[in-house]
């Protein structure tokens, strides 16, 4: 799962459907499981759902379901999936609940899956076959895909009703668990499961992480519910048994300790019996305690407890329960009272305790001393009995007799959206259940002045005017909105009499939710804010011990103006979509945290140094003229994007995501413009606020007279008047301006706005054919993932980045030189797309790279294919850096088996052991430019790796870019020098014949009848090793595994590890005629051409995975570093809602370690014949998506290496000798100083 990054295809699908992207916005990779919960996906039978009307339940005809094809299962159920989810959660499989918080009618889908390409369906249907051979565990009985069950030509499949989603990383585990269970018990055999063929985005309201603590119930009146879901049949795979004595039960449960002796596993507890005694006075109220319950002092005696106190210290009743089901509240003898605990109810609710009840809500729950009372109106409203016939059940889907109320998104007054935010944790049921009972007579105001909780104005029934409402809200208690109190009517049905009431679904959800939050309040420590980085650190150009990095914060602040926002839920319509930090670090190892104003743990944090909005200098690139205006310019007051920014931005720094900063100092030449030779050192970094930020790193030691007006004098030791860490200016590029949702109404999601590429800076000669005009130019790309707004590449003159240039009539610098989105539209100057009839539209880009030829400069950029392309692939662009003219273009689609001039290249990826999917449209890494000749000056080649597993060499044109004829494609000369997917790739050069990928290296698995799959994507740029002692003297190093869709599950893939490859950039490429010898150690002076990364890393969740590399290898001295991670398979702790993940790795406390899992590895001894990976040297590296910054090095034999890399909530360092990082949780094992990775040292010749 990936959050924030929105796939182009998914976005396209949403737009095609006319829907709106919801805000939880979690990306799921191909191979994810969807358990449909709507009538189309799960209820393919008639009759299957009913309509409550006047106390009776009738069943209408099933609706028309567009994607249901011939053979689609008819045995679905909307009941059993709840039990199936219980089974998965019991056995450690996280399950996501997909529920849109913005859909306006009950029938709206929560999300959709689009087809990955024109020849594929969006998802397949998995059905259980008891006789099929299982590729997951080798047993008999397996789930099998049936594409034919989906109607041919289906372009998109919509899901409503709060479907359950299992991320691709867990899909195989989930199917393995289900297969195990299905062989023992056929309860869930008929549940329909879909498996996606495409990445999709779904709004996740909750993640069910683990088996719930049982529901506390006075008497189990929920047998109907539990029984119909199959929950009593659920078994714990980790609890084999032969007798009841082997099954430890949860305290107090009347069903604990039972062994399913036929199956041989323990049943799970799902409820705990409570017995309340009603004394004559409040002080004596208590509930019974069973012998196995804890007996916290002051709370419980041997037989009873007098409090229901929630605390976080353990030992009290909350250790047993987090939900109390007040089933028989109609009986005034069943009260719960916190009288023995001052502010007892407050305490319970404020700390996350939850109460659920049905029926009359009179004086049922009383306060504690001094505490607020809870619904103590004193009057009761008898709920309507919807009939006395037999079991209506809670699974009678709601079809309201009156027309469905249509609401507007984010409504703060009635009518509310179908799944209003206040129903975030429970709105699931309303698409599929209904009828009967109902909360009536809601006491939205209390009769006892001063004691009643203040109810949010949004708290009322779901559907006004019908006696089928639901009340859900966070009452304000003690000045803050706390806890959850949910009374349900719509899912409650009376059947028979008052003792037969069903309403279990919400209970189950809320029990499963490990949520201890208070919207707008302080979150529990285990859900503390997590900072992540998908950017790399940048070294200081003038200081050996300083480095810089940006992060984004995965903590979604509750919007105090809107009730019901859980803190894990991304804000609705908020700008910036996420905030972040940019810091200077000066010590070896430190944490992200802290504002750094005191110098520890970092020197400064721009996030807290940005001026108030009124003092910020922000430029806006005019959409038509390209001029940079001051954002306070009155001409922009009618610009909706700018007015929105003015209203929202304040002093915030947007989240820095994927953007690696450039820290640019002054130079004496060749640029001489204004104060360019005395300019301060600034850091340039893009962010998810759509802005390019310029931050003060090192002030100029001299006072500077502004070259813009000739009068303003900036004091010495400032950055144009700003101090270290402060924002000097920010800029809204035109492409970001265009993609602001307020500018482009088709966009609803602010998270698509991202200046998210690497900042690229060079001194460029703008007039290579005339007298030289040198300027320091910043090139940057956008990474929008937006289908309706193309990404682009921009060039900004930062020779003299004086903020007074912004808004100036005649700026001397800091102006847009050019912008190009590859199409010819919105281009400042000179660009077009003359070479490719299919169009050159730019997709999301990670950045561009500069090539120098003499005193002229080229720019080579890569991007994913844009939405209009024929499929997933990579675009490569060649620009004249001086004017932005597009002079070369290449598009390679991954659907081509002959791509790159090779043959039999795989076109699909093995997303698991069952099915394949199209190779993902990941953002490719930026090119690497070089001249592989010692002493060579002009760059002659661009190496372009891609997620499909190829490394291609583009031969750079010679001479001036302007000399390329208009009819010539400057990128026409291409040689594919490597494919990760073909073994025994032979080539020869001056040193003889060699073979890449010798026999022992990867051969991707056969999956689902496809024998040739793509399993080793390259997601990071090539690094260059120079070694004058070797031949060849230049090596390109690429590492594989850097795409989320690349499965690292070792099941059936024991021989398909990810690798680090050492390539000859001048090689001829794989041929079929040169069967030369394996590239031996002798031939390369000790270098091996491939190093396998470990494939058996055990994560804290006991999953065994392969290490993969997302960041560019880093070379320094004799060392090569990569940061590897088990990321994809560990995606439960990756970027998606990490704060929901409750499991700490063993030994972690508080924020002392990350919930992300990966390893920093050092490749050791690769200059020896027995190259190996030292698996013992590791640290938990967090997201593991960035490169390693190697700050310093020394000569052979006496290296002094310090490598820095970013994880979640941490910066790590590994120093030589590897003596450890400041993080005390994980130590770095020392290596001997004789361990050198590669002979890379060349000095500077």
């Amino acid at each position: 799962m990936r959050t924030i990054r929105i796939s182009i295809l998914a976005s396209a699908a949403i737009l095609v459907l006319g829907g709106r992207r919801a805000h939880a916005d979690t990306d799921f990779q191909p191979g994810s499981l969807v358990i449909p919960m709507d009538s189309c996906g799960q209820l393919a039978q008639t009759p299957a759902y009913c309509n409550w009307n006047a106390g009776s339940c009738t069943c209408p005809s099933r609706p028309s379901c567009a994607f249901v094809g011939s053979g689609y299962p008819t045995g679905g159920s909307v009941k059993l999936p709840f039990g199936l989810v219980y089974l998965l959660a019991t056995n450690g499989i996280p399950v996501n609940v997909a529920l849109s918080s913005t859909k306006v009618t009950l029938g709206d889908p929560d999300f959709s899956i689009a087809q990955p390409n024109s020849s594929s369906i969006p998802a397949t249907v998995l059905t259980w076959s008891s006789s099929a051979s299982n590729p997951l565990d080798g047993g008999t009985g397996s789930y099998q895909p049936h594409d034919s069950y989906i109607k041919s030509g289906t372009t998109s499949m919509s899901y409503g009703g709060g479907s359950f989603v299992v991320d691709a990383a867990y899909a195989q585990d989930a199917l393995r668990v289900l297969s195990w269970f299905n062989r023992l018990d056929n309860t869930f055999n008929g549940v329909v499961i879909h498996m996606s063929y495409n990445v999709f985005t779904a709004p996740i309201g909750a993640v069910l992480q683990s088996r719930p603590r049982p529901v506390g119930i006075m008497s189990n009146a929920l047998d109907d519910f539990f029984g119909e879901t199959g929950i009593p049949n659920v078994l714990d795979q980790n609890a084999p048994c032969t007798s009841n004595s082997q099954c430890a039960g949860n305290p107090g449960s009347t069903v604990s300790g039972t062994c399913n002796t036929q199956a041989g596993y323990c049943r799970v507890d799902y409820w705990v019996q409570l017995s309340y005694t009603n004394g004559s006075s409040p002080a004596s109220y208590s509930f019974g305690r069973t012998g196995s319950m804890p007996q916290p002092a002051g709370v419980c005696s041997a037989t009873s407890c007098t409090q229901l106190v929630w605390d976080t210290g353990g030992g009290n009743i909350d250790r047993l329960l987090d939900v109390i089901w007040m089933d028989q509240l109609g009986d005034s003898g069943d009260w719960v009272n916190w009288a023995a605990k001052p502010y007892g109810l407050d305490d319970f609710l404020a700390n996350g305790g939850r109460l659920f009840g049905i029926g009359s809500v009179g004086d049922q729950i009383e306060n504690g001393t001094g505490s607020r009372r809870y619904m103590t109106a004193g009057s009761t409203y008898a709920p309507q009995d919807n009939g006395s016939s037999s079991d209506h059940g809670p699974f009678c889907p709601t079809t309201f007799t009156s027309s469905t109320t249509t609401a507007t998104a984010d409504a703060s007054a009635s009518p509310f959206p179908a799944s209003n935010a206040v129903l975030q944790t429970g709105g699931i049921v309303y698409d599929i259940n209904g009828g009967g009972g109902g909360v009536t007579g809601l006491h939205v105001t209390g009769s006892k002045s001063g004691e009643n909780p203040s109810w949010d104005t949004n708290a009322e029934s779901l559907i006004d005017g019908l006696n089928m409402g639901t009340l859900a809200d966070n009452p304000v208690i003690g000045g803050k909105r706390s806890g959850w109190v949910i009374y349900e009517g719509a899912v409650n049905s009376w059947h028979g009499n008052a003792s037969h009431k069903d309403a279990g679904l919400r209970i189950m959800y809320n029990t499963l939710l490990d949520f201890n939050g208070e919207p707008g309040g302080t979150v529990a420590s285990r859900f503390t804010t997590t900072e992540l980085s998908r950017s790399s650190l940048t070294p200081s150009p003038s200081n050996a011990s300083s480095y810089y990095g940006g992060t984004f914060t995965w903590a979604v602040p509750a919007n105090p103006a809107r009730s019901g926002n859980n803190y894990w839920t991304p804000p609705i319509g908020a700008y910036p979509a996420t905030t972040g930090h940019f810091r200077e670090y000066t010590s070896a190892t430190t944490g992200f945290g802290g504002n750094c104003s005191s110098g520890n743990p970092c020197s400064w944090d721009a996030a807290v140094k940005i001026a108030a909005q009124s003092s910020r200098k922000i430029g806006v690139v005019d959409l038509s003229s390209g001029a940079i205006k001051d954002w306070q310019d009155s001409s922009l007051s009618s610009d909706p994007a700018i007015t929105w920014m003015r209203a929202q931005l304040g002093g915030q720094l947007g989240g820095i995501d994927y953007s690696t900063a450039a820290v640019i100092q002054s130079k004496q030449k060749p640029v001489n413009l204004g104060n360019s030779q005395k300019r301060p050192t600034l850091a340039y970094v893009g962010a998810r606020d759509g802005l390019l930020h310029a931050l003060c790193v090192t002030p100029s030691t001299q006072s500077l007279t502004s070259a813009v007006n000739g009068t303003t004098v900036y004091a010495a030791n400032t950055c144009y008047g700003r101090a270290r860490g402060e924002e000097v200016w920010a800029l809204l590029p035109r492409v970001a301006h265009r993609m602001m949702p307020t500018t482009n109404p088709s966009l609803q999601d602010w998270s698509s706005v991202n200046v998210g590429g690497s900042m690229r800076v060079a001194d460029i000669n703008l007039t290579p054919t005339a007298a030289a005009t040198w300027r320091t130019v910043l090139f940057f790309t956008t990474r929008s993932a937006s289908a309706s707004v193309r990404d682009s590449l921009s060039a900004i003159d930062i020779s003299d980045p004086d903020p007074l240039n912004i808004g100036a009539t005649t700026p001397t610098s800091l102006k847009l030189l050019w912008e190009n989105d590859g199409t010819g539209s919105n281009i400042t100057s000179g660009a077009n797309c003359p070479h490719f009839t299919g169009g050159c539209a730019m997709g999301a880009s990670a950045g561009a790279t500069v090539a120098q030829v003499g005193s002229s400069f080229y720019l080579v950029a890569t991007s994913a294919t844009a939405a209009a392309a024929a499929g997933t692939g990579i675009n490569t662009y060649l620009f004249d850096a001086s004017n932005g003219k597009l002079i070369g273009f290449d598009q390679m689609l991954y659907s081509s088996a002959t791509r790159g001039g090779l043959s039999a290249q795989p076109t699909v990826a093995p997303i698991n052991s069952i099915v394949t999917a199209a190779i993902g449209n990941d953002v490719p890494p930026p090119p690497t430019l070089l001249n592989p000749t010692q002493g060579g000056t002009d760059d002659t080649m661009a190496l372009v790796p891609d997620p499909s597993g190829l490394v291609r060499r583009f031969t750079m044109p010679a001479g001036n870019p302007s000399s390329i004829a208009a009819t010539t494609n400057g990128l026409a000369s291409i040689t594919t020098i490597f494919s990760t997917h073909s073994k025994d790739q032979a080539y020869s050069n001056s040193t003889g014949s060699h073979t890449y990928n010798p026999t022992s290296t990867p051969l991707c698995p056969s999956v689902g009848g496809v024998s040739n799959t793509a399993c080793e994507p390259i997601g990071a740029s090539a690094a260059i090793i120079k070694d004058s002692a070797t031949s060849p003297s230049f090596f390109a190093v690429v590492a594989t595994g850097g795409a989320d869709w690349a499965s690292s599950d070792p099941i059936n893939r024991a021989n398909t590890q990810f690798h680090i490859h050492y390539l000859d950039p001048s090689g001829l490429g794989p041929t079929t005629t040169d069967g030369g010898a394996t590239w031996t150690a002798t031939a390369t002076n000790g270098l091996r051409n491939v190093v396998a990364l470990p494939s058996a890393i055990t994560t804290p969740t006991n999953k065994v995975m392969s290490l993969r590399v997302y960041g560019q290898p880093a070379v320094s001295g004799n060392d090569l570093f990569v940061q590897a991670t088990t990321l994809a398979q560990g995606s439960e702790v990756q970027l998606v809602q990490p704060i929901l993940y409750p499991d700490y790795p063993s030994g972690c406390t508080g924020s002392a370690c990350t919930k992300y899992w990966g390893r920093g590895i050092r490749v050791a001894n690769a200059d020896q014949a027995g190259a190996s990976i030292d698996n013992t040297v590791f640290v938990v590296t967090g997201s593991g998506l960035s490169s390693v910054l190697v700050s310093t090095t020394g000569a052979v034999g006496s290296q002094a290496v310090t490598a820095y890399f970013m994880g979640s909530n941490r910066i790590y360092s590994v120093s030589s000798p590897l003596s450890g990082a400041a993080n005390s949780t994980y130590s770095i094992q020392a290596l001997s100083t004789s361990n050198f990775t590669v002979r890379a040292w060349l000095g500077l010749n």
């Binding site: 070294p539 050996a544 070896a588 450039a662 002054s666 090539a851 430019l929 560019q1112 000569a1195 890379a1240």
Partner: protein, 206 residues
Amino acid sequence: MTVRKRSGERGMALGLVLVLITVLLLAGSVAAWSLRSEIGAAGSDTLSRQLYDCAERGLAFGKLYFSNTNIAMNDFLSTDLCAAGLPCYPNGPFHSIPTTPAACGTAVSGYPNGTLPDNTQLLQNITVGSRTLQFQVAVYDDADESSTTQNYACDLNSQVVVWASCRDLVTGQKRTASAVLQLTGLPSSDYIGQAGHGFRNQGNAN
């Protein structure tokens, strides 16, 4: 002849025995001294390694800087580092700037102890282990004139020597490292403070 010769051989043997005894005695003294100084020597060894480590870091920094700076190399070479306190010939590698032959550049302000015009500081404190050490980086010309008279303020062969020294601010101990730097001659358009360690994105910090 023979007797004398034999007698002489005896005398030589006696001398050898005396020398051997002396060596053994000295060795014993050294061993005893070493035993007493074990702890102190270990600490000194640690500092020594840290100083070397620091010097290497400084050297790496200097190589990166001098290979990327746009300040003319002859300007650096034309700055009188002897006057700035750096080790001067014959006790060090640096030479004062003579009147003749004329220097090829002009002295760089702030070099080597202050802030250069491009805001770089070549005298920096760094932390190694628990110690604060100070490295200083400078550059000197190799002997590239064909004549016996060298002009160390003028580079002729695009090759200079980067020098880095590290000093423990407490004990004053120093360690020095140096490396030859080959100059490409063209002013660099590159900046190392960006992704991939430069605009070519090579990921190589060397």
